[in-house]
Symmetry: C2
Subunit: 380 residues, 2 copies
């Protein structure tokens, strides 16, 4: 294998795939990036077996020559070092040549690097996925679906299935659900697809979805998604992102969402966020994050928290709309802030069924998102 | 005590002093900020007894009214909460009122906070320093003196005196020295002052000097410095910064700096930095950070490092000037990078006395800075 390649293009592709390389690999090869060089271009692959990322650099891009391949071939180079050194090389061009026993020479300007390369035959083989049933999702929509749900996933390894988000597709409606049993985030969106394309119980690790989100450019390019066996494949431009699905059956969350309520509020999202944020600062001192919300007789609500050592914060807030019974409820302010931060609407709607029943939060102008927080059982 | 005050001015002063409040106070009062309110203005003080910071907010600034004092008085409020809540208050104005038993009401817009205040009589008394012998230092010069020396101070509590920087003033020359026995940084500057003003063996904690540096605005305002007994006082605009001096006698470092050399190089600072940075990435894998430098026969130098698992980096670099004996030396690349990062000159001068003798580095256009690194004793 021998080629010369533009430093910036090589660096971009390395940064994209490196996220999938193991930082503490069980065997050295899992901490590597595989280079596959043909006369068409360079394919970089990293894989920790849970996720795999592949990026392709074509030898020509538009009118410019990106790489010149003298001899095709493959090698695996250690990710941690490659990720840092390539961007620091002195010249805009990098020469890579693999010799005997995968010893690899990297040359750029006055820099000469001799690396211990590894045998590409030992590198994990990527899952083969039939690309027949492809779902196309606008990139910005996929980013929103991820951002607005995965925060509610569990971080406890005691319930592995809940560390992921459930992704379902049914009759053109794509739905993301995440819950840690104390709160739930549910967001759906219509996607243009054949009605016959559907999948259910696809559960992808929240951490993996966040990595995926970072690879999606902000421009609204289409992302292609394929589900097969125990894998999901996302294609973002020239990058392929493979994720293993989590094992197990995701719990049925449809019955958790209450269908009726006793009290309903419509409030300003930013004002509620700021008020709860201040109450949170005090509630944090008691480690419980308990904040209380009560409806006021003249309309509006009062939000408060207290700490025996520090004191008490009391906030008054107007409501655009308040209907139903008077209410007194306590909840985890951190959970509420997590929800409020991902709501992009200026106003939001909160429904209460009672002091011990789930609190339902929805953006006022977006009925396809539903957030649920279980209240705290407190006295007084 | 009762006043109303502009939120931004109050917040700025709180952020300035809060650095001195203990994050894990032995007694609660050391984790507090003291408010002293008179008809002239508000003085905020925080102190962990090693350092103390005081900031004064006058009731009027230029043409604008900053605060309106209804009733003078004092109280101590917990720093951690105050630092975060004040900037998040909803209105531009904040009302503070202290009631019975130092219970303090803070009101802003629709926010009502009741805080458990502490008795200001229990707050540490700041050292009294006679302001007769005042040294005036341009703020940007003081920032440079700190940045270009304190990185070489020891972080080991086994040699407490070396965790500080030595600050001497003699015949109008202000000198900062720091060393951890493996390297040394020495920077002096001429300051306009009476020749009679002098001090020696003033040793201030490197951590404290970094805090001080952050309080100095980038504009070249004058900083006033006073040394008395076991304290140094710095006055930066309306902020007073007190630091306890470290106990003990700083070692005599004047004899460490070699007066002669066998080999001298002049090289480009950025090119040397980049080359050593690349070699560092490889040397880091072996935990030793060892990088080798050899002079080449045709002129110029070669920098290299190697790791048994990863491979080898070799860098070639031209020298503007090379005089004296051929050389082969090894050193800690991290220590060298620390020096190179604070050298602002485009070129630098390196002198070697031998493979086992100190390496001397000086900015080419600034003879008042001297950096020393002890080489590694390696074989081969």
């Amino acid at each position: 294998m021998k080629l010369s390649i533009a430093k910036n293009e090589l660096n971009d592709a390395i940064q994209q795939v490196a996220k999938a390389a193991s930082t503490r690999p069980a065997i050295p090869i899992l901490g590597g990036i595989k280079f596959d060089v043909t006369h068409q271009g360079i394919t970089l692959t990293a894989s920790d077996t849970d996720i795999s990322i592949q990026s392709f650099i074509p030898v020509e891009s538009g009118d410019s020559i990106v790489a010149k391949v003298d001899k095709p071939g493959s090698v695996v180079l250690p990710s941690k070092f490659i990720v840092e050194i390539v961007k620091k090389l002195p010249s805009d061009e990098v020469e890579i040549e693999v010799g005997e026993q995968f010893i690899t020479m990297i040359r750029s300007g006055s820099t000469d690097i001799q690396m211990v390369g590894l045998d590409p035959e030992e590198f994990p083989v990527l899952p083969s996925i039939e690309q027949s049933d492809v779902l196309q999702i606008p990139g910005d929509l996929l980013k929103s679906l991820i951002r607005q749900t995965v925060f509610a996933a569990s971080t406890s390894e005691q319930t592995p299935i809940l560390t992921g988000a459930l992704v379902n597709l049914f009759e053109g409606e794509l739905r993301f659900v995440a819950t840690d049993r104390h709160r739930l985030a549910n967001r759906s969106a219509h996607v243009d697809t054949l009605p016959s394309l559907r999948f259910s119980n696809v559960v992808i690790s929240a951490k993996t979805l966040n990595e995926l989100s970072r690879l999606i450019p902000d421009a609204s390019a289409l992302v292609e998604m394929v589900v097969a066996d125990n894998q999901a494949l996302f294609k973002i431009g020239s990058v392929l992102f493979y994720s293993r699905l989590l094992d197990g059956t995701y719990p049925d969350t449809s019955k958790i969402i209450p269908q009726s309520y006793k009290t309903e509020l419509v409030v300003d999202t930013k004002k509620l966020t700021d008020a709860i944020d201040r109450a949170y600062l005090m509630s944090r001192e008691e480690k419980t994050n308990i904040v209380r919300l009560i409806t006021l007789e003249h309309g509006g609500i009062e939000i408060s928290s207290s700490s025996s050592e520090l004191g008490r914060v009391t906030e008054q807030l107007e409501a655009f709309k308040m209907e139903g019974e008077a209410l007194r409820i306590a909840f985890n302010s951190k959970y509420m802030l997590d929800v409020l931060k991902v709501i992009d609407s200026e106003q939001l709607n909160i429904q209460f069924t009672g002091a011990m029943s789930p609190i339902i939060i929805r953006p006022a102008d977006h009925p396809h998102s539903t957030y649920i927080i279980l209240p705290y059982r407190t006295t007084g």
